[in-house]
Symmetry: C2
Subunit: 466 residues, 2 copies
């Protein structure tokens, strides 16, 4: 079925779509990509979207697949851990791993997307069209309706298959939902919190105002501020805050005075770093945080959802882009199987992949509570210190949940979640029951943690009656 | 705010809507109910909807509230337990509780709905209009657009508040979703299984062909058949089966021969009871099984979703109708508080109620696996026997998860779920680790179960870092 002359239409040239176009181009397919925005290499369209992102092993695996690992590395700023800022301005660095080579990176969305577009366009069999907005997809006919942003003309494109990588607000997913031609499970879940981006500018000499190689967090229980470094010496700062709960919230932070009062009380050191705070606060939009899940992703052998269009997640595990890139790696693996039809290909991909994207969606919600709240708690800090020590001393025998999710790209998110959650529970319970003495031989602690983890997993297996 | 002259528009006169109309009528409000179907007291409209339902304590609490407990009792057939049918036709009765007064009932949807409509219409301040289909709701203006089924004329009704009890396919919920005027979390999740209704007719003398006072189950691991008694001596039988997985499924049961082969192999005793099987099989529709959750349910002080419109669940806990009736009881409690506005009333109702309807939705999915599969497994049967003995011997000290959910109407579904799941896990783990000897003194077993349950709940509390 998959003669290379097959025409593949991709909707959306964001991070996932441009990587997919590049990979399918490398495989020899005729690829046409339609993107609703202008070419971000020519026009600044950063407003309203996150400016920088966390990039880690799963994403990097995809970069290796398409052979641009080195080019991407040049765009990366390593972040070795979380720098936690308390209310008094004290800071505390908590590494992401006890293994030195395990860290995440801050990367510019625009730069990376631009690189992927440029690499994709090097293939003669790949064409990218900008300013063409998808209005709907006729998944039975395998056609998509587009509107040209400038002329407002509408036109229909057809293809052998259509893959929609058009993000959390996917037009094709909407067509699945509204079409009611098959049982389409779908969810959109908003957090009660929204987010707003702010900026810490560089020093006059271009240096970073705070430690460059960390993801900075100001955890305050029910809300938080974070900051990720950019190559130009600035930090992109994000405030995560409830829309309508608590003393200060997005709905009542309506005056300069109140915003300053809030930051002075909760984030005094961050306020000092952002003399421009109020300007950004009122200029930048407040955006919602949502999780989208759906099933099935494909319709017969005609259409397939990938990336955020299939599984949008909240940003708290730093895995959104990495998960979408991993989609392409996993899809590529299925293509290698040379199955008898696109339907079989889509089916196989979706059956193996869905459990993992569900898992990372749930992990990302967990991490919201961890980042804004738990990281500031003693028992959690004890757990993290212990895990660092275990990873450092037994690098081949222990990986924390964070490491399993972030640095172990050869196991799926679901496996990482199940094992990681059991480990967390084991350590917290052992600590809280006084069954671990932190002065004990680490080898004995490791043994206890492993035994308790296995007991927890076994108890859960029994309850599932398997 | 709540002068009794307030006009309340209810969309949908199903079980929830007619009970709500009755209760609000009793409270003195002006109530207008619009229902898309004809009056079921005059026209048979059972096709495609479940004919009988499980009715239990939570539902009965609502009947007490509106003073029609005795009238409803006359419609009930008690079911004391599950009668399990194995492949050889052996049967095995597993009671729902060790306490004799705890049982569920089979009740006719049509009869009960008719009774509620008649009781509601006794109030001069309640009007019910049939054959008026709601097309959409303008929740900002508090108006609803209807179409008359016969004349096809469209008309708009306004009211002080609108409450939509228009079921799983709610028009108002769709208006919330498509309106995009606020952050609306929404999910529809379909099982891979569908269902089809069949019938066991009475004997020629009108007697029941199988034991009357049980819910019959033919569990077969990945699919099942169930039967609930009707007052006329018949049983309504439901086949739950995958659409497309397994050797036999709804998509491949397309010929009389194959249907008979399937039943002969899997349900030989049921086949004997249904000489008419094939007729019903091909006459009756195959329907999907879905869970709907959403949030928020209300828009300001204008509109509110209740019943299946807010939280449709799969039928496996027998709690769908009971949960919707309980909605009315809980809403009534909030009305008693005499809050300052409808917005405060809706807000308070939704904040307390949502956690419980989420819980029963999840419990109902759990019970799908329990009914089709676990009930046939030895360890599960041991657990149930032990629970019966505990309930019988310590009626005030032990209630199983099933009893907590079904017979303990004074605790919420969420509390029942958390405690019930911990108990299940405790017993299964104690049994499987050989830590309970079934010949032991029951008092000792009870103590062990309680200790283990508390330990599990405590471990979970620690992990939530509270």
């Amino acid at each position: 079925m998959k003669e290379k002359q097959q025409n593949i239409l991709i909707i959306g040239a964001g991070l996932c779509g441009s990587l997919l176009a590049l990979r399918l181009g490398q495989r020899g397919y005729n690829v046409a990509v339609y993107e609703m925005r202008p070419d971000l290499r020519k026009v600044d369209i950063s407003a309203g979207r996150s400016i920088n992102l966390a990039f880690s092993n799963r994403g990097n695996k995809a970069m290796k697949l398409v052979g641009i690992e080195d080019k991407v590395k040049a765009l990366c700023i390593p972040m070795n851990g979380r720098m936690i800022h308390d209310k008094k301005g004290n800071t505390y660095l908590s590494n992401y791993s006890g293994r030195k080579h395990e860290y995440i990176n801050s990367i510019s969305r625009g730069e990376l997307n631009g690189l992927l577009l440029t690499e994709a366009e090097k293939h003669k069999n790949v064409s990218i069209y900008f300013n063409k907005k998808c209005k709907s997809v006729d998944f039975k006919k395998t056609t998509a309706l587009f509107q040209d942003y400038k002329t407002k003309d509408e036109f229909v494109e057809d293809a052998d298959i259509i893959i929609a990588t058009d993000g959390a607000g996917s037009a094709m997913r909407k067509s699945y939902y509204l079409g009611k031609k098959f049982l389409f499970s779908f969810s959109q879940d908003y957090l009660t919190h929204g987010y707003k981006e702010l900026t810490i500018l560089p020093k006059k000499n271009g240096d970073y105002k705070i430690y460059k190689n960390a993801l900075h967090i100001w955890p305050r229980g029910s809300f938080m501020l974070i900051a990720l470094p950019n190559l130009d010496g600035s930090f992109t700062v994000t405030l995560f805050l409830s829309y309508d709960e608590g003393e200060y919230n997005f709905n009542n932070l309506t005056t300069e005075k109140k915003v300053l009062e809030f930051f002075l009380k909760e984030f005094p050191d961050a306020l000092t770093l952002m003399p421009n705070l109020v300007n950004y606060f009122f200029k930048n939009p407040t955006s919602p945080l949502g999780t989208v899940k759906c099933y099935p992703w494909h319709y017969k052998g005609n259409t397939l959802l990938m990336g955020d269009a299939a599984h949008a997640i909240v940003p708290f595990y730093g895995q959104g882009m990495n998960a979408s890139f991993e989609d392409v790696v996993e899809f590529d693996k299925v293509l290698d199987k040379n199955l008898e039809s696109w339907e079989a290909t889509f089916n196989t991909y979706e059956k193996t992949r869905k459990k993992d994207t569900d898992a990372i969606a749930d992990l990302a919600i967990d991490n919201f509570h961890e980042m804004k709240d738990h990281v500031a708690k003693t028992v959690f800090q004890e757990k993290r210190k212990l895990e660092m020590a275990l990873e450092e001393n037994f690098p081949n025998e222990y990986s924390s949940k964070y490491a399993l999710v972030t640095f172990n790209e050869d196991i799926g998110y679901r496996e990482a979640m199940l094992k990681g959650r059991a480990q967390d529970k084991a350590i917290l319970n052992l600590l809280s029951d006084g069954k671990i003495d932190l002065k004990e031989d680490l080898k004995i602690i490791l043994k206890k943690v492993k035994q308790e983890t296995e007991a927890i997993l076994e108890d859960d297996r029994i309850v599932r009656l398997k």
